[in-house]
């Protein structure tokens, strides 16, 4: 079966639309809330969803996702539970679903067992924030065997490494907007013309930009440089703020992002 990400990219190409990718921490507020939010985001025009598997020590995350991870873990979220949640979601949606999780969650589960389970429940890709290009071999064999993309990241500090990362990346290329950790930003100091100029020279797959995008206007500006945007903390903060009443808030926010991108 074709990877759902590729099907989605084909569809976006046909419609000429930019991709909207969002992130949510699994189990923050309970699995039911996460499931409801994911389906609502799809209805609001989100193309791809990254499901964050909470980790005890998320070193790449800012305060918002750190706290959400903490809440989710305290609420009893487990990787096993996340897989079961995806199984339930797969009965209701065919959109591309990715897991964003730290290397130890995969390694400790057993790399082969983990990626087998991804294929089984219908996960299309993984994003591992503490697995740089140099260590990609760690999960290569098992992810490829199961047709799961291991998404590569490039950052403004990747410098001379951008070409080799972009050239070998699978699925889409995750372009990090700025240095630092995840979180909402008011301004960016990165020279995007230069950054994406460098990326586009080598990338043969769609390039999405993430980290710091907090509004429809920001989505529009950032989206103009590449093929889509990734929004995380701004979604997660709404779960934190509104709890079980978060879904309408998230829906409205995703519609704003969609309009920003399409407008």
């Amino acid at each position: 079966m074709a990877n759902r990400l590729d099907t989605k990219f084909e569809e976006l190409k046909q419609t000429g639309k930019k991709a909207l990718v969002t992130y949510i921490v699994a189990g923050d507020g309970g699995y039911a809330l996460t499931e409801e939010a994911i389906l609502a985001m799809e209805q609001a025009g989100v193309d791809i969803i990254e499901i964050g598997v909470p980790f005890s020590d998320p070193i790449a995350e800012g305060t918002i996702i750190q706290q959400a991870s903490q809440r989710a873990l305290q609420g009893g979220t487990t990787l096993k539970g996340v897989f079961e949640m995806v199984e339930r979601l797969r009965k209701k949606t065919d959109m591309p679903l990715l897991l964003m999780l730290y290397a130890n969650s995969i390694y400790r589960t057993g790399t082969d067992k983990f990626f087998d389970r991804c294929r089984e429940v219908g996960i299309d890709g993984v994003i591992v924030p503490d697995l740089p290009f140099e260590e990609h071999d760690e999960f290569k064999e098992d992810s490829e065997r199961n047709g799961v993309y291991n998404i590569s990241l490039v950052t403004p500090t990747s410098h001379g490494r951008i070409a080799k990362i972009a050239a070998s990346a699978k699925g889409f290329l995750y372009c990090v907007s700025s240095t630092g950790v995840t979180g909402m930003r008011d301004t960016f100091s990165t020279n995007f013309e230069e950054f994406f100029g460098e990326i586009k020279k080598s990338a043969r797959i769609p390039c999405f930009v993430g980290f710091g995008i907090r509004s429809g206007a920001a989505a529009k500006t950032m989206g103009s440089y590449c093929d889509g945007v990734i929004v995380g903390s701004a979604v997660v903060s709404r779960v934190g703020e509104f709890g079980e009443k978060a879904v309408p808030e998230i829906t409205a926010f995703c519609k704003e992002l969609r309009q920003g991108l399409d407008g």
Partner: protein, 395 residues
């Protein structure tokens, strides 16, 4: 692709992409300077006239007589400037940062000894210094917090997670990712992504090199057993490294068993941990079956870490070194024992090594030598030990 920075399967560079370039830059800089005559000459000069190396090799006569086994020697890293072995590594890294043109140094600290050492060198070199420290450790080691501030460093408390050493490292890594172009991260132990485990070990291996030469001069032979405490494992790697090829020398690491390894309140990584990937390295970690890092516990803030340096994981896997677990109570008894027997107050971290030596020495013959690495002095711990014993000295 050839794997770099590996000890068997352990080690590697598991860091976010944002810091990967800085890790590569550091790797290149370290490769360039590790054998550079000028760099090494400057480092030797600092070791000698600033840290006051070589540290003394002390024959512990009363302890030897009392335990009735091996002849006991103590490598006195507690007599270094700033009171522990941490100065060796801080000197090396901050000097390297200076060669690399970095102006801002960040560090994490548990007991505060690495923070104090780093703050000290930054004062000496006129560098900006920020030290991340778990809030709980700041309370346990209030004296060292004040020392760092006195030295001109900014101490930033970390409230996330367990508010101890691992969380301080998380926060230092986040700072590094944010201020990557200007900042040098001075890691305090033989851990983290390559080249840190090798680099920190290289800056600490002088302990073992001196110890070997000193024992050859005093006794004309190698020790039979070398004991050191292990958290991340820098003082242990420092004294072990030169003895690794000497197969007759037994190497023993003493890790923190806290309230006992059969409770959930310990930091005994080798005894109870599993292989994993965390803090930039593949090594052994205390974790649950889904890979969540476990909260750890030890009376010693310096050993209160859920992992261990990758080279130790390798020495353990290959059987070259043994690791034993020492409880809080055993460590406190050893703290009191060394104070009363030899008139030396050890750091509570180092007291774990003394406790292991008290068990091992009686099983050895009088013609054998047991060498203890006394990694630090205990002034910083007196208040906490008094509290542990229920003595009120707060006045």
């Amino acid at each position: 692709m050839e794997k770099i920075g590996r000890f068997g399967d352990f080690g590697g560079q598991y860091v976010p992409e944002t810091v990967m370039n800085a890790v590569s830059e550091l790797q290149e800089a370290y490769e360039r300077y590790r054998n550079d005559p000028q760099f090494l000459a400057e480092l030797r000069e600092l070791y000698r006239n600033y840290a006051f190396r070589p540290s003394l090799m002390y024959y512990a006569r009363k302890m030897t007589e009392d335990l009735g086994g091996a002849k006991i020697y103590i490598k006195r890293e507690d007599l270094n400037h700033t009171g522990s072995h941490k100065i060796n590594n801080a000197l090396g890294q901050v000097l390297l940062a200076k060669y690399m043109g970095k102006k801002r140094i960040i560090a994490e600290t548990g007991a505060g000894q690495h923070g104090v050492a780093t703050a000290t060198i930054c004062a000496y070199f006129d560098m900006e210094c920020e030290v991340y420290m778990g809030r709980e450790d700041m309370e346990r080691q209030a004296l060292n917090v004040y020392r760092m501030e006195l030295l001109g460093a900014k101490v930033t408390g970390v409230d996330s997670g367990t508010a101890t050493l691992k969380d301080a490292i998380n926060e230092a890594m986040r700072d590094w990712a944010t201020n990557i172009e200007t900042t040098f991260y001075c890691i305090g132990s033989v851990m983290g992504p390559h080249p840190y485990p090798i680099m920190v070990r290289d800056f600490q291996k002088i302990i073992g090199e001196e110890a070997k030469a000193q024992l050859m001069e005093k006794e004309g032979k190698l020790p039979d057993c070398v004991v050191a405490c292990v958290g991340g494992g820098s003082n242990a790697m420092g004294i072990f490294y030169d003895f690794i090829p000497d197969k007759s020398v037994r190497l023993v690491g003493a890790e923190a068993a806290g309230r006992g390894i059969d409770t959930d309140q310990h930091a005994a990584t080798i005894s109870k941990g599993e292989k994993g990937i965390f803090h930039g390295m593949k090594s052994v970690f205390l974790q649950n079956e889904e890979g969540q890092i476990a909260p750890v516990f030890s009376i010693s803030a310096g050993l209160d870490y859920p992992g261990i340096g990758p080279e130790h994981a390798y020495l353990h896997e290959t059987g070259r070194a043994d690791y034993v677990a020492i409880t809080d109570e055993e460590a406190v008894q050893a703290f009191e024992y060394l104070s009363k027997t030899e008139g030396i107050i050890p750091a509570v971290e180092s007291a774990h090594a003394v406790a292991a030596a008290r068990k091992i020495a009686p099983t050895m013959r009088p013609d054998q030598i047991l060498l203890i690495n006394l990694s630090g002095r205990g002034d910083k711990d007196v208040q906490q030990i008094a509290r542990y014993r229920g003595v009120n000295i707060d006045g």
